[in-house]
């Protein structure tokens, strides 16, 4: 669901095909019948933006028909936990949770807490912007003073235990409601719900695969939460064949989140320090540490990281240079930053490995932002739209902008591609795979590593004699690396070794459990600790699967600690026995008194299943022996999230920011907490003027904003023009001719595209009303061998509040026959 795996992860999809051949029931839920649907046993077409209704329906189906995995739910999830009296549900408040502050447009989340706890609220006024799921592990504290929630009801009967709250919350998500909201048939829905339930319990598991068809919504995070709730109820987390699988994007986008290209996290999902927070390292550690679970070791993670960055300069006395770390005081996400550009608050900008002039929502706004800069650096393989916006863009063509009036000085620096340098890819499964340079980069093309390393050297050279303390953070950095070749290419493996870290004797650390908070260890990213164990690059291991065990543990290396399946303690029952022979994975060996199995156990090896934390236990020791989710402060799977999300503890059906439908449940139609910028350059579509639902997506033949494909003949010829997918009925309704041209219009802009009339895109029948959907690939731009309208000229910049992701999967538009008037 929300993934077009066959088209966008074709190589990984071979395993889905294999599962299908072995008799697995594969279902695809998507507004379009795609190359994935064509391969599955069942396709259910739904309306873009209606997923929570669909998933909520499944949750309701499980609860109504008593299909949950009782033993799992009772011990491994927080279903029994009693929630604070102050908590009120959207069902009581017509679409709001308790704690809504209309003036701030934010929730005061204290009312969502477990009974008898007070959640730690992150410091700083602008918390709304800087906190959230990916802002470190913000949520995992839960304000628990001790590993167990104060009040639980093992019978799940207490009216305010999470299980009962869940029941009430989803009571109205009936099959009828689902059919009406999603525009699918009741039978289709029931077939999916039943299939999910059938793959649960001791003997069977089922998994859910998603990607950006789910994330790119103003309720993106909550859609995924809904899937997590289903899997926890069915006991499908931490077990082989279970899980909620995120298929990620660029080849190493997983790695780039681990090593923190995001503005609000440090490597290993440590939260970014905030200027509002005083009190240095001590205070930071306090707020980032949870009393129970592995986040109880935050001090060892952060101190080891600071040692990796500033080495000898980082001492106990100077807080290990904690104050050298930059602090954030606001959003600083990509979209926020471009709004600041429009305001003239951003002077210079470096774009590396991104093409916002095509790839970012409301790309027109983005190009106008770039036109306000003093200088712009673009490092890319080819001269992409972002580098050429000042002389080649729709605005230039229309005369809105004129090159001679754009002050921006653009520096284009050619980058070398992944085949032209050593490095690693971290994939969706946290598997870090090493790749070696295949060919030398041509001409002036240089690797990222080369560029930033030598840039650093040059800056340090300039500042060499500076006494200004503000330059210390740069001058004190551990910067020197072994280099090779005529261009002095830094060694990528040296960087990997530094991420792994060393003990005080300079020996590579075997795993993150060895990290210390006293400055005797260093590790650039605690999660990657172990990847260089025994001073060998573990990511280079390439032993074929037929030469090794079930989990192929000797193929590359996966964080943490080469574990292939996280939270795998849940693959055994509370007593530590495998749930079934068929599904055995990791279990408690009573004789040897340790956890063993096919994978590296994701649990303290020696901790027996019946372990009860003593009073005052801290960190991992505060987690019970039958609580598998060791990163959580209570070791439980969170059906209900008391803390960590900004828009509610439970997923609720909201209509997209732009939708032709009014919410069936509440008068509050869209997510009240969605992030908006309210700018004239980013207007909202009036429903009547824009009657159609439009969704945007990818094609196998192209890659994202096109820099890597539109310039390649072999790929361009395979999808040589921008097109729109419309249903025959819509074509008739609007007089669109197959193979002809159409113009798609929103209040932001309009683009033209060739018309592909196809039954594969689903018209939505709801209450006798038919709403049509328009499908748009978003790969095109003004440059390359194949050029065409950018879907993102049409999209808006309203975001999910937790992770600031744009809602490009469900918005509204109008469509007309013929080409755009110029």
């Amino acid at each position: 669901m929300g993934s077009n795996m066959a088209e966008n992860h074709p190589v990984g999809f071979q395993w889905v095909m294999e599962a299908r051949e072995r008799g697995a029931k594969v279902i695809h839920v998507d507004p379009r019948f795609t190359r994935t649907s064509a391969m599955t046993s069942k396709w259910v077409g739904i309306r873009a933006g209606s997923d929570i209704a669909f998933l909520g329906g499944i949750i309701n189906y499980i609860l109504e028909n008593e299909r949950w995995f009782d033993e799992y739910v009772k011990t491994y999830t927080n279903a029994p936990v009693i929630v604070d009296e102050k908590y009120e549900d959207t069902e009581d408040l017509d679409g709001f949770f308790s704690g809504w502050d209309p003036d701030e447009g934010e929730y005061d989340i204290t009312t969502w807490a477990y009974k008898g706890t007070t959640p730690q609220t992150a410091p700083g006024k602008k918390s709304s912007h800087t906190r959230g799921e990916q802002s470190g592990h913000g949520g995992h504290g839960g304000g628990l003073s001790h590993g167990e929630p104060p009040e639980e009801d093992e019978t799940l009967r207490h009216p305010r235990c999470i299980f009962q709250i869940l029941k009430r919350h989803y009571a109205r998500y009936t099959p009828e409601f689902v059919a009406k909201t999603c525009g699918c048939s009741i039978d289709d829905f029931l077939e999916v719900a039943e299939a999910m339930c059938a793959n649960s319990g001791r003997e069977r598991t089922g998994s859910i695969v998603y990607a950006v068809g789910w994330t790119q919504h103003t309720v993106g995070v909550q859609i995924i939460r809904a899937a997590a709730i289903i899997q926890l109820l069915l006991g499908n987390v931490g077990r082989p064949g279970g899980g909620v699988m995120a298929l990620r994007g660029h080849a190493s986008i997983q790695g780039s989140t681990d090593i923190a290209t995001l503005f609000n996290i440090l490597p290993g999902y440590l939260s970014m320090p905030q200027s509002a927070q005083k009190g240095g390292l001590k205070k930071y550690i306090e707020s980032a540490t949870s009393p129970a679970g592995w986040w109880g070791r935050t001090d060892t993670f952060i101190v080891s990281m600071l040692k990796a960055w500033w080495g000898a300069a980082a001492t106990k006395e100077n807080d290990f240079c904690f104050e050298y770390l930059p602090k954030i005081d606001d959003d600083h996400s990509e979209y926020w930053t471009f709004v600041q550009m429009l305001e003239g608050n951003v002077k210079g900008y470096v774009v590396a490995g991104e093409n916002p002039a095509v790839g970012s929502a409301n790309s027109k706004l983005h190009r106008r932002g770039l036109a306000k800069l003093d200088w712009l650096v673009v490092r890319d393989l080819v001269e992409i739209e972002t580098a050429a916006f000042w002389y080649d863009s729709p605005e230039i063509e229309s005369g809105e902008l004129r090159p001679e009036e754009i002050p921006t000085e653009v520096f284009f620096l050619p980058a070398s591609s992944h085949v032209e340098k050593d490095g690693s890819f971290t994939n969706t499964q946290r598997l870090v795979q090493w790749h070696y340079k295949a060919v030398d980069p041509r001409g002036d093309c240089r690797s990222e590593l080369w560029f930033y390393y030598h840039l650093g050297l040059k800056i340090r050279e300039r500042l060499k004699h500076s006494q200004d303390p503000k330059n210390r953070p740069i001058l004190d950095l551990t910067w020197h690396r072994p280099t090779h070749g005529e261009h002095e290419e830094p060694s990528a493996e040296a960087v990997l070794a530094e991420m792994n870290g060393w003990d005080d004797k300079g020996k590579a650390l075997p795993d993150y459990k060895q990290l210390k908070a006293d400055g005797s260890t260093s590790s650039g990213c605690w999660l990657y600790c172990g990847i260089y164990a025994d001073d060998v690059n573990q990511a280079t291991r390439k032993k074929p699967r037929w030469e090794q065990d079930y989990v192929a543990a000797e193929w590359a290396w996966s964080w943490p600690m080469n574990r292939r399946l996280m939270y795998n303690r849940a693959s055994a029952d509370p007593a530590g026995e495998p749930w079934s022979v068929r599904k055995q994975y990791v279990w408690w060996d009573a004789k040897q008194k340790k956890w063993t199995g096919k994978d590296v156990p994701d649990f303290d090896e020696q901790k027996p299943p019946d372990y009860e934390p003593p009073e005052g236990a801290q960190g991992p020791d505060a987690i019970r022996g039958d609580h598998p989710f060791i990163m959580q402060s209570d070791g439980q799977g969170w059906i209900y999230v008391p803390q960590g999300l900004l828009d509610g503890p439970l997923p609720t059906h909201y209509e997209p920011h732009e939708s032709p439908f009014q919410n069936r449940l509440y008068s509050q139609s869209a997510n009240p907490r969605r992030q908006r910028f309210d700018r004239p350059e980013d207007p909202v579509n009036e429903p009547d003027a824009y009657p159609y639902v439009v969704t945007t997506y990818r094609l196998t033949e192209h890659h994202t904003a096109g820099g890597m494909t539109r310039f390649v003949p072999y790929l361009s010829e395979l999808q040589p023009a921008m097109f729109c997918e419309v249903h025959p009925d819509l074509a008739r309704e609007c007089g669109l001719a197959h193979g002809g041209w159409a113009t798609i219009v929103t209040s932001r802009s309009s683009i033209e595209a060739r018309v592909l009339v196809t039954d594969r895109i689903k018209p939505i029948r709801s209450n006798g009303r038919v709403v049509h959907q328009v499908g748009l690939p978003y790969h095109w731009g003004s440059r390359g061998l194949t050029t065409g309208g950018s879907a993102n000229d049409l999209t808006h910049m309203t975001l999910d509040p937790n992770v600031h992701i744009q809602e490009v999967k469900a918005l509204t538009c109008d469509i007309r026959p013929g080409r755009r008037s110029r």
Binding site: A6, F13, R35, M39, T700, Y714, L715
Partner: protein
């Protein structure tokens, strides 16, 4: 290869090529393309072009589903067809809105009786020790005979200005670019190195299966049985039968509808099977011509 190596083909006897190689003969290699697991990713098309350094075929948007390659030719040796149908993949269509999307990667069939090879007047087209059919680009003189001879329309001349429906009546003498014909070589070069063909290597789902023909045929039979048992609509093997009009394909297919739906001939026959008939007719006609000429003198010599 001796000039007369191709004689084995002239006799047209199945696998006659084998003798011509003596102990250099290898088991006959080929493809089983199982379209029931093709995800239409076109990796095969791209891998083929990369490996064989084939020029791009022009950027033409066809509106024919996701297929903008359209056909096999000198610059496309693999072609993935896309067919959208209002019909379920398996069983009956209950609610009436069932869809299926057929995808199939076409390629040269490496026929047992290869018309292209039979008619080639230079011996440029030849039968390799693997039983595949390959053009020797250093010998082909672009006579173009193999192009209309292929019952599947696989071969084409590269960069030849296409023949217009109403051509200028006078011959065009200007020099033409490249002018040779090109087609799938079944990666003859890779096979020598013991590697599987580029397209098969790139195929993520193993829709393209490369191997010894006999073994592939067995596998295909089992596959067909499975699909028929599972009630797949229209499942059928195409080109697997050694008794068919071209003596079976070296590269055969499992299709989910009739061949013509994929742009393939339903019952291809190698043109040279009718050669005896053709030569006889020609001989008789020649004789008739001689008689005719003599006859013209019957009425007197002046």
């Amino acid at each position: 290869m001796s000039d007369f190596a191709t004689l084995a083909d002239i006799t047209g006897e199945p696998d006659g090529w084998a003798e011509t190689y003596g102990d250099e003969t290898k088991p006959r290699m080929g493809f089983f393309t199982d379209t029931s697991i093709c995800i239409g990713c076109k990796a095969c098309e791209v891998a083929c072009k990369e490996w064989n350094v084939i020029p791009d075929d022009g950027l033409v948007w066809t509106g024919e589903s996701y297929d903008h390659t359209s056909t096999l030719g000198a610059n496309s040796w693999r072609h993935v067809a896309f067919i959208e149908q209002r019909k379920p993949l398996r069983g009956e269509d209950e609610d009436g809105d069932a869809l299926r999307w057929l995808m199939s990667s076409d390629v040269c069939k490496h026929c047992t009786h290869a018309a292209c090879l039979d008619v080639c007047p230079t011996g440029s087209l030849f039968r390799t020790e693997f039983g595949t059919v390959v053009v020797q680009e250093d010998i082909c003189n672009g006579c173009g005979y193999c192009v209309p001879a292929c019952p599947f329309g696989v071969l084409d001349k590269r960069h030849l200005p296409r023949f217009e429906p109403s051509p200028d009546l006078l011959p065009v003498f200007e020099k033409k670019e490249d002018g040779r014909v090109w087609k799938c070589t079944l990666c003859y070069d890779r096979m020598h190195g013991g590697h599987e063909p580029a397209c098969a290597k790139a195929c993520p789902t193993d829709s393209i299966q490369f191997g010894e023909l006999d073994e592939l045929r067995e596998r295909a039979d089992q596959r067909l049985e499975k699909l028929q048992a599972e009630g797949w609509n229209g499942a059928q093997l195409y080109g697997r039968d050694p008794e068919d009009g071209v003596g079976g394909f070296g590269a055969f297919f499992l299709l989910l509808d009739e061949p013509e739906v994929y742009g393939l001939p339903p019952d291809p026959v190698v043109t040279t099977t009718n050669l005896p008939e053709m030569w006889t007719a020609a001989a008789v006609a020649a004789g008739a011509l001689i008689l005719g000429v003599l006859g013209a003198f019957a009425g007197g010599s002046r």
